[in-house]
Symmetry: C2
Subunit: 598 residues, 2 copies
């Protein structure tokens, strides 16, 4: 059976010249009841499937997207993710076989409300069944099977696309090696659903809507444009709208629209609304936004743990600081739920002013592109894995206070063999790389600085972007053989809380810290009556040091003792002469490396 030729179907949006269609004649049973007798899928591909069929990357598009991710040649119209996909780009079409299909329920070639119901003669219209993200993914799965791919190298998508990625990993774990979820969460907030409800009602109350059976007459363009204008506000951020419209707030763009003639922001939205109705179907908008609103992996840790349990892939979550539709905090819930199950997961909350749309924009996806490229490669880039130089650095008997990390050597001495390790405050992953070279597995980093998180991921490490003061609770008790805290203690506000976490998470905690009571410090303070200032970690003025806490070895020991934390082993040394200190370390050592347990 060929693609139905009803004029109302094919005239929505510009033609997709390189799209292919495939019709599955197997009846699709839908999650919420009902069925579709046959499903047409419209899709595009880029690159070449390799002999092992192991290099396929499936891209899942967002609500208003389609299969046209990127142009196929110079003459082609631009796609919606040109910044990320193409030869040499992060999703490299020279390396991967990239697939994207129009969603079930969409209006750009895949079965949706604008299709003639194969069991009748009229378009589905409002009779199109309520579909879910699970149904969309079921259709994609059939397409992947049809293409002869049993396991995807990766599935990636943002917003509604991210919800599909989550569903792929949960419903088809054997078919997904890696999942990359951008700007998505376990469920939309009630606020987000509320906006969608207003938008859908704007469509339904448009007199042209005619209960959804409008394909023989004028489309409910005013209602659809209003829904789009409203949704578009939620895709931006307060700050990006401020930057874009405040300087000219009473100078509307000269757009030919019935919607707005006073405010600059209004003319912009009107333009968005007017263009949208030229390429999108109102029934599809209702269908797809309802699927977004119904998507719900759970609102509690317990529920999330259950729904995510089947997944076996490696995960990367990217969220954006100014996204208030699928906020970073909601993405973090998913990350926490996966961490709680000791799944392989990395995350980064990208600082961006551009709101939810950040995942589509070049200037806010630079770090995102770096992480996606590295995560897809799934091996440490040789350029970044300079293990030889680490080895030379850790064997050099020089002060840690000159950017050298002599304490790494001491940490390694306190490490059990073949251990799993979490490095709390892992920086750019230097120590994790040393541990990986020495065979330690699995490894996880936690780091709060975005640039360092990006470097960790480029080195091929799993890393969670989080603040030690509040981000550790998701990691299960005793889930790592070793929990490291290396030269980080002095910058933590809640020292006792983090120490408790170290010995809760790791069977063995290993903590290195500077000893602020070593002899030169005491003597300076006694003699000069001023806060001591030394080289390296102590080389700060009293009034603007990043150090928040000033531990001595004795203070540290007492804190451990008061908290029922046992010190198993300790190495104290003087970094000036590289000597280990046995006699009165609190006086003579400037660095302590201590192994702890609860």
């Amino acid at each position: 059976m060929s693609l139905p030729l009803n004029a109302n179907i094919l005239r929505i949006g510009p033609p997709l010249q390189h799209a292919q269609t495939w019709i599955s004649h197997n009846t699709l049973a839908l999650e919420n009841g009902g069925r579709l007798k046959e499903v047409t899928t419209c899709y595009e591909t880029w690159g070449t499937l390799n002999h092992e069929r192991s290099n396929a990357v499936l891209i899942c598009h967002a609500l208003s997207g389609d299969s046209h991710v990127v142009r196929h040649d110079e003459q082609d119209t631009p796609g919606w993710w040109e910044i990320l996909v193409g030869p040499g780009k992060p999703i490299d079409t020279d390396r991967y076989f990239v697939i994207c299909s129009n969603l079930l329920g969409g209006c750009r070639g895949t079965t949706g409300p604008n299709f003639v119901n194969p069991e009748g003669t009229q378009p589905y219209g409002a009779a199109f069944p309520i579909i879910t993200v699970r149904d969309m993914v079921a259709v994609q799965r059939r397409l992947i099977d049809h293409l002869g791919i049993s396991r995807l190298h990766a599935v990636i998508g943002g917003s509604l696309g991210g919800l599909q990625v989550l569903t792929w990993a949960i419903d088809h774990p054997e078919a997904v090696k890696s999942s990359i979820v951008l700007a998505a969460s376990a469920r939309l907030s009630s606020q987000g659903i509320a906006f969608d409800i207003v938008g859908r009602n704007a469509i339904r109350h448009d007199p042209n809507f005619a209960g959804g059976q409008y394909y023989d007459g004028p489309a409910p363009e005013a209602g659809l444009a209003l829904a789009r204008m409203l949704a578009h506000i939620t895709y931006l951020s307060d700050e990006s709208m401020r930057a874009k419209f405040d300087p000219t707030r009473l100078q509307p763009r000269s757009v030919d629209s019935a919607f707005e003639s006073t405010f600059s922001v209004g003319s912009y939205l009107a333009h968005q609304g007017d263009r949208f109705v030229e390429r999108f179907d109102a029934n599809s908008y209702i269908t797809l936004s309802t699927a977004m609103d119904l998507f719900d992996l759970g609102d509690s840790k317990q529920k999330l743990a259950k729904t995510l349990a089947p997944s076996t892939c490696r995960w990367l979550f990217l969220s954006f600081s100014s996204d208030w539709l699928y906020p970073a905090s909601a993405s973090r819930q998913l990350v926490d739920a996966l961490v709680a199950q000791s799944k392989s997961v990395s995350s980064c909350e990208i600082e961006s002013p551009a709101g939810h749309d950040s995942f589509l924009l070049e200037n806010t996806m630079e770090d995102g592109g770096r992480m996606i490229r590295a995560f897809l490669a799934n091996d440490p880039s040789p350029a970044n894995s300079s293990s030889v130089s680490y080895e030379s650095r850790i064997d050099q008997p020089t002060s840690i206070f000159h950017g050298q990390r002599l304490d790494y050597k001491m940490i390694l001495r306190l490490m059990p063999e073949d251990a799993s390790v979490v490095d709390l405050g892992c920086g750019n992953g230097e120590l994790l790389s040393i541990l990986r070279d020495r065979g330690y597995r699995p490894l996880l980093g936690v780091e709060r600085d975005q640039e360092q998180v990006v470097e960790c991921i480029e080195r091929g490490h799993l890393v969670i972007h989080a603040d030690l003061d509040k981000g550790l609770s998701a990691i299960p008790d005793q889930s790592f053989q070793v929990a490291l805290l290396s030269q980080t203690l002095q910058s933590i506000v809640d020292v006792a809380g983090v120490l408790e976490e170290v010995v809760r998470i790791g069977r063995r905690g290993i903590v290195s810290f500077p000893n602020f009571a070593h002899a030169p410090m005491r003597e300076t303070f006694l003699r000069e009556g001023r806060l001591p200032k030394e080289e390296g970690l102590y080389a700060y003025d009293w009034h603007d040091t990043p150090n928040r806490r000033f531990p001595s070895i004795l203070d540290f020991q007492e804190l451990c003792s008061n908290r029922g934390i046992h010190i198993l082993e300790a190495i104290y040394f003087n970094s000036k002469n590289g000597k280990e200190i046995v006699d009165d370390p609190n006086l003579n050592a400037d660095v302590a490396v201590v192994a702890l347990t609860r």
Copy 2:
């Protein structure tokens, strides 16, 4: 001329039994051009105007409000601000003569689009001119004159009401003694305007709207309900919607509405929309929301300074942490602009989960009510002004480290006579009260803790709710004779930055701080090799002290010297024996009080 009796006017909303109407026959020239030949004002009053006509409080209502602030008797229907207004309440009708009038452009008895145009026979409808907040206030001013009041004790309002308060203070400074602005700012954000634009277009695209001339037929109820549903989302917060709807997100309330039957949040909004159309006119909604969007006191410091310059009143600004329509940061811009002109201003950013609507809710307005009550009273409550006990406390020769403030005495010794003073980190206003008792004027406090801000205002002080690390830049150079920083230095992260501000703001800075290098601290550190722990300010464990910085007198002196800050005078003392220290204060004193200048 009597109130027009067209049925379309009086049937909007339930009757206001105690409302009075007054018709001004003077033509009103409107800010944006055009004129109204006569204006009817509908208003209500509570309490009694005193003989001096000095106890009148004008309440300005928000977009969807009306003159019915509070019930007049037991049988009356409840008003919209029962929590704040009434006998014994913060706006005490036993004490004040309270007035509220329906807005110009409204639909509850004051001239608006639903009034018959006195120059014709039809309701104004869409022919009602574009009005501004300035026009609304001009009409209120006429009413106040009509009531024989030349100067209002206070004007108060939230949201659109707050915009009217701002306009009163700017346009009619001689008529306003005090202004209280809640949940308002100098201009709505582009995001906020965008939501309004979508709402107005939902009304205009309702087929019943008929270009605004719908009074002879059915009203554009679907469009108005959609506008209300959308606006209602912006009045709540993400967190309040989460709390309200997430536990039952797929259990809609059983409301009889065409709008929603799937989601709980939708049925709630549908209910709001359906009820709103019973009491509000769509043309008024367009008229008033446009006035809100056009309101603009300026987007730069320079512009704000210019627009606010004419005001002469005392100001109180209350904003709410989760308000994203008129956010606290925008309220702060106004406060800063007034502070920059050395106007009398207090502010508090109230911690609240309830969003913009917080100013209407009992549980989020408890502190707000306390501040409004005290600010209206405009004199320190005797219960809180226990100056006698301060005097006894400062003369008691005991350690400041036991909750006593011996350093106050030293500060007073370094104070010039009759000075103006800003107290940075003023706590609950204890020192400000001492200074007031001794005749110092004017006084201003800056404090970051909400409860302490409330107490300051209850003591009758002007206080800005701000963080010293970032909130001082608005205070002009050398605008106070003395800038105080009392026992606060050690908890500040950016010590140098705040010190620079102290000597920029004050001709004389007076700073008191604990000396961490006094002899017992040094000796303990030398002998025990542990971070010293003493009584009082030092009585914290090294790992959870609120102190972030550990100044010694020498360190402090060096920092001043490096920054070109001159030490004019200093008093060092030992709080244990209450003695002043002259010999080696860095060793022998535990407290320093230093007078500085640039």
